[in-house]
Symmetry: C2
């Protein structure tokens, strides 16, 4: 067996040197042990899809599975399917599968609600635990530790949830730029709330180092894995993390608005009753007794009845990631996530190098350092990012666009985002996408009126 663990090894299909021709890119695809996984997806003909960081592609198994749930389990089984079709255990069964992707043990992670709602649960719990630990605590408002620290460019919903909770519970939300976070952690910090991989730039935090820094300051850490789960290897236990949430519809390919997930370290999970105390998180939901008794372990982070159709689709998506284990191991990798990470970086290196060469109007907005970049590459354009992306989509390459924030000089420029999902994106796709981006920019076709009318979602 080849040693595929050294990117300097020329036999490595994910080698660090960048292909110099389309033929060399095609040769990488031919040598890629993960290439067969593309057949697990329904990819529209002629489309290069670089937006799996926003909505993953439809897995080939999903349509039939959802039909089975609709026609057989719901249509024929009706109410009986809560038992006979295993609906009651879907949230934990899928949770265990996602756990394998993020370094959680079986029984520690459940699928539930949305990322925003799960963030509310864990932030509430973390603030309460931090308050209880605080030496000067005299009330639930924790005069000793009253600050939530987060990143200024964190995904807005995370900041909105934190802002609302800070206001309601008497905490303060402090925002820092990425490089200044460690310096803002001190004896007043209750919780550090971070998204592991930045949604705009793809910049990835060092989860272990920042977790250790927060713990050294006596604070708890919540990691949002929305752009990490299924995209980069995550080791929650290895990092010593306290809480995590994440998204089902991005790299997990669970479908539009797929339910999200929540993980709590076993050392915390039974220390607190999270306040979204719905019946599915009860120790015995079908006793129908007044008086809440939370389920043992992570089950208490469930709330209401889960959306079974969307859960079934999510499981198909998660299964596409677990399918990477076999070919990855056959090629000498420890598991699928390790091989996917190596391929993702090889794809994004190729794309970044080609765009850097072909498109001088664009500036790299993601870290050039592999170790600091997630599974996306972003470029900034001072003014016309939206129209450029629309013109590129018209040429059959889908990425997406995030507007700059004029109030924040570091993030003032428009961002073109390109997500690289190594399950289904090929080296020739990265090559062709860069070429089409060059054509859009060289032709000025992005100036056409139809590419300059903004929709709600881009």
């Amino acid at each position: 067996m080849q040693d595929l663990h050294d990117p300097r090894d020329p036999r490595d299909p994910y080698a660090s040197d960048v292909p110099g021709t389309r033929e060399e890119a095609a040769a990488r695809d031919a040598a890629d042990p993960l290439a067969p996984l593309r057949a697990l997806f329904e990819i529209p003909a002629g489309l290069v899809y670089l937006d799996g960081n926003s909505l993953g592609v439809l897995p080939r198994a999903t349509a039939a599975r959802v039909q089975q749930v609709v026609r057989d389990e719901w249509g024929n089984g009706l109410i009986r399917s809560w038992n006979s079709a295993g609906w009651m255990t879907l949230a934990t069964r899928i949770g265990d599968k996602i756990g394998r992707l993020v370094g959680a043990q079986p029984g520690e992670l459940v699928v539930a609600d949305s990322t925003s709602v799960n963030l509310f649960k864990v932030l509430w719990a973390a603030l309460s635990i931090a308050a209880a630990q605080s030496p000067s605590v005299t009330s639930s408002h924790a005069p000793g530790r009253r600050i939530i620290v987060s990143e200024r460019s964190n995904f807005p919903t995370d900041l909105y949830i934190a802002e609302a909770m800070a206001r309601e519970r008497g905490f303060e939300l402090v925002l820092a730029d990425a490089g200044e976070i460690s310096g803002r952690l001190d004896e007043r910090t209750a919780v550090l709330l971070l998204t592991h991989v930045n949604y705009r730039t793809g910049a990835m935090h060092d989860m272990a180092a920042l977790t250790a820094a927060a713990h050294a300051a006596g604070a708890l850490v919540i990691w949002d894995l929305a752009h990490s789960a299924g995209a980069v290897p995550v080791d929650l236990h290895g990092a010593g993390a306290d809480f995590a949430v994440g998204c089902g519809y991005k790299y997990l390919n669970g479908g539009p608005g797929a339910p999200a997930f929540v993980w709590v370290h076993p050392r915390h999970v039974e220390r607190f009753w999270q306040p979204l105390a719905g019946w599915m998180g009860h120790a015995a939901p079908f006793e129908f007794r007044p008086g809440y008794r939370p389920a043992a372990g992570i089950g208490r982070y469930l709330c209401g009845t889960p959306p079974v159709l969307s859960l079934a689709a999510l499981e198909c998506g998660v299964d596409t990631l677990l399918a990477a284990d076999a070919p990855a191991r056959a090629a000498g990798f420890a598991d699928g996530t390790q091989a996917l990470r190596r391929k993702s970086l090889a794809l994004s290196r190729l794309f970044a190098a080609r765009v850097g060469e072909l498109c001088p109007a664009l500036a790299l907005a993601s870290p050039a350092d592999d170790a600091r970049r997630g599974s996306q590459v972003c470029f900034s354009h001072p003014t016309h990012g939206y129209a450029i992306m629309q013109a590129l989509i018209a040429r059959g390459v889908i990425g997406d666009f995030r507007a700059g924030d004029p109030a924040h000089t570091k993030d003032a420029a428009d961002i073109l985002r390109f997500g690289f999902t190594p399950l289904y994106v090929r080296f020739v796709d990265a090559w062709d996408a860069a070429e089409k981006l060059r054509q859009v920019l060289d032709s000025d076709e992005w100036r056409r009126p139809e590419f300059n009318q903004r929709n709600a979602v881009t």
Copy 2:
């Protein structure tokens, strides 16, 4: 056109007199203007399904619609479908349709999350508004109005959510029996939280009278419409209600775990920022700006990204109810909900009369008075309700079972629940179900061991 509004009119297919033979029951079906609606559903052959109050039957349109969402909108449209397929407006579009069933105006009701999560949002908001109104208020803990009043036999998840919030925010949860609720409302009451139709017994509160009593005491009212929406006419504006939530998977036929809904009276909706401040409730979610600004109106009660597959199925379910409008109006009713209510009562009267005659071991546990009964009929058995229901299911009649609460003498007995969904249940179904229940009881077949092993959900 016949006058069908008087149940004493013998020409009325939903007349108050009970058919005396199966042939007479079949004649009611033949005269029933709503009978054609049964063809909108996929009902397993030979099954009498009296559990639509727990999980509605699969509408015939749903499977194809869900496939369209999966294959075309997600598979081919991918991220573009947030605009092109209208995913961004699903929550309000379906909300407006549900609004027609519960007396809400367009733009006042949205579909989001689960009933439990929505209850958390409105209870938080109501407590905050009540606290702000309280003359002696000095903090968000509202020393003047510190009590949440609810019903002892309310659905447990409602009580769990209220219990958790009361604990966290310094309120007290006071539980009363149904007849004693008005007497518990006073100057210390912040919020009255009630489920309109009781999940165990089908007993229905007088929404207008209890709302008026709460308002007279200076309290706000939250109505849980889980067993009302699509089952009984509801007029939120007519009752002067303040807040409402409800369920998508019972009488709305939205599928297992379908998303729920939330309504806030326009006089309250912009008075408060509910704390589950996710990005979908932001005034401009795609600006991606830090700093929460809630959407105008009910949009601020959205939170995270909605589960599109489950939403699409819910819309098909809601459409089955709206389909009752045309035949109902043709038959002289004001709208579908009025005709559905009349048929529902005619069905439950027939079933209750037949069971009362044939099954002396069972006692009626629902109000005999039509005006006080929702769309279900329940019977109690002192000890063996579970096994009796299992044996009945084996005979092709699905109802469900709720255990008695030994801590509460009034609810100590086991309950057999039978939901009557007039969209698809026939008069002969009610007749046959009573006959099969008699056979189960007369034969003692419910004593078999296989009917006495309890599963998680029944």
